[in-house]
Symmetry: D2
Subunit: 340 residues, 4 copies
């Protein structure tokens, strides 16, 4: 941590401040007197120092971190890739590209089972489907809830596909555990629901953690850190587009986040091209780009009848369209070190 002092700070103020820093945080302090400002360098573990407290001192002009504030999610301390492995042996983060597909919302047994069979046939190894739905409007369809989990399990029984579904509240954890959800999704709007993250840290179920609407890459890793700090290291990161001024797409897919997350963290990274663009015809080029940028997997919305979908119809592929996209992924994945 580097602290720039104000030009008019006195020697006494400076020395008092340095003594305080050494005392409070157990760090060594290196002083460097420049022509215009004096700079302090803190040596030791500064990840737990609150940068705001330092900045609040009247002689401080600015404070900058040198070390990343995340540890368990940091590749520096865990050089090897984390591969999340399900009980049935399926993996996310290994050589196999993970393909997660299914409808935005679970709507009926017929619907979820039909979609499950179709996406499995096309190559998907995981079934996604929303039982509890976060909706901007209180008047919109909120999901089938517990019944939705049952229907997902029916589809799982039929196909063997493990289930990925979103949990919206700490109150649903027991239900999700009883239902045997294979991968618990934390949605973008809950990425900084810290109470929820902390609880999920006590499970061993893999967590698919979506990047918040305007979360930085560092904030995404800090949220992963919350889960990992509790003991659950099965975290899968998901880039799903960020909010920008551009209105043509629902969000702007931050494709750079994929190679960056792979470089600075050891956690697997999947991409959601459906939510990123919000438009069905954009799913294919965005999925291609994600694989080319090094993603470990894709999560894609597929519905047997998009115009009748109870949510997110505009971005859902039909099973036929998904067949095509999955075929393309299969073709190109080997050029990027993956197979489908």
């Amino acid at each position: 941590m580097i602290i720039v002092l104000k030009p008019d700070c006195t020697r006494v103020q400076r020395d008092t401040f340095i003594a305080e820093l050494e005392d409070t945080y157990g760090v060594a302090v290196n002083t460097w007197v420049g022509t215009q400002s004096t700079v302090l360098g803190l040596i030791g573990d500064t990840a737990c120092i609150d940068i705001d407290n330092i900045a609040a001192n009247e002689i401080v002009e600015s404070v900058k971190r040198v070390q990343e504030p995340y540890k368990k999610a940091n590749r520096k301390f865990h050089p090897d890739d984390t591969v999340v492995t399900l009980p049935n042996g399926l993996q996310i983060g290994g050589e196999k590209l993970a393909l997660i597909a299914g409808p935005c919302s679970v709507e009926s047994e017929a619907q979820i089972t039909e979609v499950a069979k179709r996406v499995q046939h096309a190559g998907a190894q995981f079934l996604r489907g929303g039982a509890f739905k976060p909706r901007t409007s209180p008047y919109a369809f909120q999901g089938l809830k517990a019944q939705g989990l049952d229907l997902l399990n029916a589809a799982k029984k039929e196909t063997g596909l493990p289930i990925v579904t979103e949990l919206m509240s700490v109150r649903q954890i027991d239900l999700f555990l009883q239902a045997g959800v294979d991968i618990i999704q934390v949605g973008a709007r809950n990425m900084q629901n810290f109470d929820l993250l902390r609880e999920l840290g006590h499970l061993q179920t893999p967590i698919l953690l979506k990047r918040g609407l305007s979360a930085t890459i560092e904030e995404l890793l800090m949220s992963a850190e919350y889960i990992m700090a509790g003991g659950n290291s099965n975290v899968i990161l998901c880039e799903r587009g960020i909010r920008t001024y551009e209105t043509y797409t629902r969000n702007t897919l931050d494709i750079s986040a994929v190679p960056i997350l792979k470089k600075i963290s050891h956690l697997p990274v999947v991409v959601d091209p459906s939510h990123a663009g919000g438009i069905a015809w954009l799913v294919e080029p965005l999925a291609m780009a994600a694989v080319a940028a090094g993603a470990d997997g894709l999560i894609i919305e597929v519905h047997n009848n998009p115009p009748k979908a109870l949510s997110d119809g505009a971005q859902s592929l039909t099973p036929d369209q998904f067949d095509h996209v999955a075929g393309r992924i299969r073709e190109i994945a080997p050029f990027f070190g993956k197979s489908l």
Copy 2:
């Protein structure tokens, strides 16, 4: 709702689609054939129609809403200002400018009581203080939790100031009710924690709802709508800065949101200049601007010793600085139809 059809859609497709719309949503459909496209206008209550479902139809090029999707928060249907009134008669949204002040975190009885007395003396009518703290890092101070609520109550007993404090999880609701929290704050990171909003809709306790880090004005009102749809109409909106590319300030205070929210909604609007800028010396000019733009109140962080604060020290005023700011507010408020 206005639906633009693709240029190549056939008359049969169009007629089938119109029949479906009338059937499914109970609306009348007006057709308007332009030189390049055909446009459909839906007449009736379209607030509950999911725009995505419409967009998912293969003959639809784009869909646009004409009506706002919020109703209970909409001034069109409730022309008079909502004034939130506490049992002791204190109001937010009336002629009196609401001044809410206190430390970011409650740290000790001495601290909270001292700050409470000082801010009360300066003119604050409400005491804020965090017991449960949402922190980006799992390693940062997370608040005194239940004990923090007790200390707030001690300060309330001493001063009579009603308490405003943040609730982070549905699991804390009972505790907050038992503790008699006067105004429950929903933080920016929980603005779209819909499970939480729904539960708060069943209370009568006033809710201070902070705008999310990158929430639109419409999304803020939709979150208010969640609470109001459940029966709790005591919602206070809070502008606290939005995320932009500018890095000098922590967030960018969207000052326009104040007059806009006042115009399109009937709910009271307060501004948080402390979190918006993240810098103590910016609090005064931003507070002035907020009052000048028509805010119903301000929520300001005050700490008796900012450099020793356990959180957000860099943006906290000292009690002396707050005396000055409150004095300035008192001077200018009457020019904007308020008094302190």
Copy 3:
């Protein structure tokens, strides 16, 4: 164009307004009376109507365009791909992936010639190099200017590679024409320098038009329209990252812009992975993603000694690194309908 009237507008006001619209713009007006608002639909050519003038009318609540405001750049009116062809037969927009490479700044004959030979050997068909440099600081190196153009020509003589270089001002047009610059680049900061765009519209030299730092896709196309309206239809669009709140990268590559521009316009689209990320190691994954998303070409910064580069060293590849990236592009391009 669709105009929503205010709920309280009278029938007389409405009829007067409609008569004015028909009179002023020669359009037919369709009236549709909804339960809450009245909506007017304008039939005819509305591309030249200023939306602000309509919005300024006191009875208007909001105005929305149905038609795109660009025509010459619009695929609807020009369904076939534009392929920009140089006198020597080289093309951008056809089956061949265009690879444009070279240093940020031209620094010396030895430097530019060496880099030109190396990138040519690796597969680049065009040489880029800055002679006039837009720099944020007046104290930074501003380019070799006219001498830089001479050195580019020396490298062109040596290698036969056509030259792509940035023009910063209308005053440089004659110089660029005399120097025989093959493709004139308009930088991001000049994307809305309308006086410049208009002048470039009178040339036949191809223009590489970079998207502005925070330009929308529509604004980029409107700037292309400025050039095309003057008679120069040789416009190449360039996505080079947009400004967002994320600070890890210099800009955020908007990968979705590639398929979108290809769909709604007929102009060729190239991607600049060097400026998008601002980091040399990100160039490869972003270049891969760009090809996978359907780009017609790439523009990549290569320097023979990046740490000694007079500008943008941090994002420049060495010739060896470029060899590797070009080799990867060659491998994957055929899967996306292109060859190198």
Copy 4:
């Protein structure tokens, strides 16, 4: 300037790098060995060092500036406020609040003269009006050009009000000087038209420099630095809203920029509430907020018949509305150290 080295860099690499830095830039280098990284601190004048060149070195992890890269615009080196004074004695930046008003576009002698008289009567000391108009569409009205300058002069003769008008190109400079334009405006889209800024640096005419659509505060000051570096220190900064994801307003007024620019620079700061919001009814609250935040002036669009305006009608006040706003400004200015 602070340079963080990569953890795996060797002592020899480090020493070579340090020698190079001292040699190339004439700075002293301070080395500080931390537990995880080694940090170098550069002592001396680093404002002219290109941060990218440093970052390009293979042993460098990150580079951060401690000093601001602007000097002439920096309050640290010029503690006293700059007050821009016109030949007739009128000032911007002093005790008097500068009120600049007039139509977006000059349309006719009758129009500009009528508006000039009305705004003068209401208290404006400067007349604004566009003769050359930057328009997103090549098909929109582009201004009366040279004739517009004549009409502005006619209005100036009638009223004595000095003229503020936008210059879009270096080619217009002579025309503007001949026309005796009192204050030359550089529009948001030209804020980084460096060729133009450099030329304006050779004049003595005051420059009203508008912040770019997504320019940072530092970039705005760097553009002022370009002008000042040439010898023209009569620069007036203008905050006019920045681009964000919020779509209710055309731009988001960054009200914090006002006190920040006043603190870190000595240049006067004016606010444009008309362009910031893009909505006439927002002008009053935003103007109030600007004055309350410490602005030195306001630039407001006024048109005698907004619905018939050739540009920007939706954000123009009528003369009567401006009378009201100017009256409110007069009332509140004294509370913020200004008078009208």
